[in-house]
């Protein structure tokens, strides 16, 4: 099976979906002439022309709202928001409009819209360019929120999102764009929205994660295997709907859980998962659930401070050791 980057998987999928359905179009800042701030849309303007690959002015509220309205009339816009930080100026259109329209109007109209955007921090981008807001959108009924961790899932979930008739937030990660993985050719597979996956089987502890933190969890699981610690890694893949049964089944098997996410500790994704485990698997737990999340500061610029503010492999290992304390070998 060919090995390609996460970026290539996204770029290929966008091109294939543009070719498949004439109602699919891409919109966003710098996606055409500039070829994409992170080169996800590279070459697509040349291949499909300016009707299908639309460079927008810097007006997120305007063009996100425009995409919602266009979707209501049957187009299938795939909007790129340069980073998730910038979507805050368009959040009214996502939360008050896109997520409500199908339900609030009695099911009379659909909003087949995808908003792609990278979330999280990397490369000293500092306080306003390193945030994780996928939990804000996952909070909102009516939206679907996905966050793939591998090139295979990136392709399968982006296909599913573009073909879905609901608004989907498609969360990417700058730090994942150059990661590689196997992606089958000539296979029109999709990855179902709302379904998590056990990315690695284990018996001692469950690590619940998504996006870049799944990649970190997989490395940690590999490392700890040498010490005789067997880590099961659950990749949520979708934050809304949240696949609670897969999380609970894993915790019932391992009896211990660590939850890791890049966002801030309080009110973050890890809090939701920990509460879910408490609700549905309390009697199966042999240790309190531990959470690994970002430090609660506006992310500082200075290199060492910046790195120390985001969860690392070491912070995950520390948490795993803590939940395994007292476990009989």
């Amino acid at each position: 099976m060919p090995v390609i980057t996460y970026r290539q998987a996204l770029n290929d999928t966008l091109g294939e979906e543009l070719a498949r359905d004439p109602n699919v179009l891409l919109m966003g800042e710098e996606i055409g002439v500039f070829q994409g701030s992170y080169r996800i849309t590279e070459g697509l303007l040349q291949e499909f022309g300016p009707k299908r690959v639309v460079d927008t002015p810097i007006a997120e509220e305007g063009f996100v709202g425009l995409a919602v309205g266009a979707a209501m009339l049957g187009l299938r816009p795939v909007v790129e928001i340069m980073t998730i930080n910038f979507i805050l100026v368009a959040i009214d259109q996502v939360v008050n409009h896109a997520s409500k329209i199908h339900y609030m109007f009695g099911g009379q109209v659909r909003v087949p819209l995808v908003i792609r955007t990278p979330s999280g921090g990397t490369g000293q981008l500092a306080a306003t360019h390193s945030q994780s807001f996928e939990n804000w959108f996952a909070y909102c009924p009516g939206l679907k929120v996905v966050a793939p961790s591998t090139p295979y899932d990136a392709k399968g979930l982006l296909r599913a999102a573009i073909r879905d008739d609901d608004p989907v937030m498609f969360i990417e990660s700058l730090a994942l764009y150059d990661t590689k993985g196997e992606v089958p050719e000539d296979d029109d597979y999709t990855v179902p929205i709302g379904v998590a996956e056990v990315k690695r089987q284990g018996t001692d502890v469950t690590v619940v994660s998504y996006s870049r933190m799944t990649a970190v969890a997989m490395q940690v699981a590999q490392r700890l295997e040498g010490e005789g610690i067997s880590v099961e890694v659950v990749d949520l893949r979708s934050l809304r709907p949240l696949d609670r049964p897969t999380i609970i089944a894993s915790v019932k098997k391992t009896n211990r859980a660590v939850v890791i996410a890049e966002d801030w500790y309080s009110y973050g994704v890890t809090a939701e998962i920990a509460a879910t485990i408490q609700d549905e698997a309390f009697d199966y737990l042999d240790a309190p659930v531990r959470r690994v999340a970002g430090l609660e500061v506006p992310l500082p610029y200075a290199k060492e401070l910046s790195a120390a503010s985001k969860p690392s492999a070491n912070s995950l290992i520390y948490a795993i050791r803590k939940v395994l304390e007292g476990k009989k070998k």
Partner: protein, 355 residues
């Protein structure tokens, strides 16, 4: 004076009298619908916020007379009259205000969120300015798919101060989209006058730096509204030229049913209603020109009274939405791991102390 009369007479003579009578009927229907809506609100048949179109009847009927079935309409939350004038029967509209399953939005939207796909009434929106980019997007879709028609982005005067409005103007002109920015200028955004909120109170000029043509229109004159809309609609459809219509009318009551209107001088309101009542003025005009007589006017009053009463009866007799349907229409494409009817029933029972 005689000259003005002659001009008006000849203008009226060019009109089809049936059209004129129909406009009057529609305006009277909206007037009576809103009066009875206010009454139903006070009787607690209607909840939430409730904004009335009283005083804006000519603005609404004039706009709708200019539109074709191809066109789409996005409005703000003061929209009962728009959906009725667009052709949706008053019954399902009143049922929506009552929160019934038979309402235009299945009882899930309420007064501020009316919708009817069949007539391209694309919704009332209750976040000020939110509907404007949506309407521009609908116009984008029409152009993309090469379909006929234009899109109306209706809004209040206060909306012209929000950022979404300006981003929408820029995109509409940048991409030559068939959209009409239809500003219902009743002089007040809640209690804030246009002069208090807009550095440029001539709202029709607000498209100037976007190279968008704007006009001020007498929103109490149904024919003036219709003619301006027809002209600018044709231009939008044929040339992809968006336009701003600054349609001036008089708000008869407070911002919403529960607003006591303390910020306006009662004498100003009284005289405004006296002078700018589009329904009464149009009746007088038609009567003076022998297009209608007293009997006809009386018959119309009776007909409208009956139709609105039937709408209320329909709403009263309609079923409430079922608890088990709480999550219906949550998603258009089915997805696993979401709550279903059994979850809804269980949660409702707990909530109501039945478990």
């Amino acid at each position: 004076m005689a000259k003005v009369e002659d001009t008006q007479r000849s203008a009226l003579e060019r009109e089809n009298p049936d059209d004129l009578r129909h406009y009057y009927y529609q305006m009277l229907l909206l007037r009576r619908f809103e009066e009875r809506t206010s009454e139903m609100y006070v009787k607690a048949k209607i909840g939430g916020y409730c904004h009335l179109n009283l005083g804006e009847e000519a603005t609404i009927v004039g706009l709708m007379a200019a539109l074709t079935p191809d066109d789409y309409i996005f409005t703000n939350y003061r929209e009962h009259g728009y959906i009725i004038a667009r052709g949706v029967p008053p019954g399902p509209v009143m049922a929506e205000l009552f929160g019934k399953e038979t309402g235009v939005s299945g009882g899930r939207g309420g007064s501020m969120h009316l919708f009817d796909a069949k007539t391209h009434f694309m919704g009332g929106y209750a976040i000020v300015g939110g509907q404007v980019p949506l309407a521009v997007g609908a116009a984008y879709a029409l152009k993309y798919q090469g379909k006929p028609g234009v899109v109306v982005a209706q809004m209040g005067d206060g909306t012209t101060n929000i950022g979404a409005f300006y981003e929408s103007l820029n995109l509409a002109k940048l991409w030559n989209l068939p959209v009409l920015f239809f500003i219902v200028n009743n002089g007040y955004g809640m209690g804030t006058s246009v002069e208090m909120g807009s550095s440029e109170p001539d709202l029709w000029k607000k498209g100037a730096s976007f190279r968008i043509h704007g006009e001020r229109i007498d929103g109490t004159d149904v024919l003036a509204v219709r003619d301006a809309c027809r002209r600018l609609r044709a231009r939008a459809e044929q040339e992809g030229e968006p336009a701003i219509l600054d349609v001036v009318s008089f708000r008869f009551r407070g911002h919403s049913v529960i607003d006591a209107d303390r910020y306006r001088d009662p004498e100003f309101v009284r005289s405004g209603r006296e002078k700018h009542d589009p329904v009464r003025n149009f009746a007088a005009l038609l009567h003076d020109h022998d297009i209608v007589d007293d009997d006809w006017l009386k018959a119309m009053t009776d007909r409208v009274e009956k139709e609105v009463q039937e709408a209320i009866d329909f709403a009263n007799a309609s079923p409430d939405p079922r608890f088990e349907d709480m999550y219906v229409n949550m998603y258009a494409t089915p997805v696993p791991n979401i709550p279903g009817p059994e979850d809804a029933i269980r949660e409702v029972k707990i909530n109501r102390g039945e478990l």
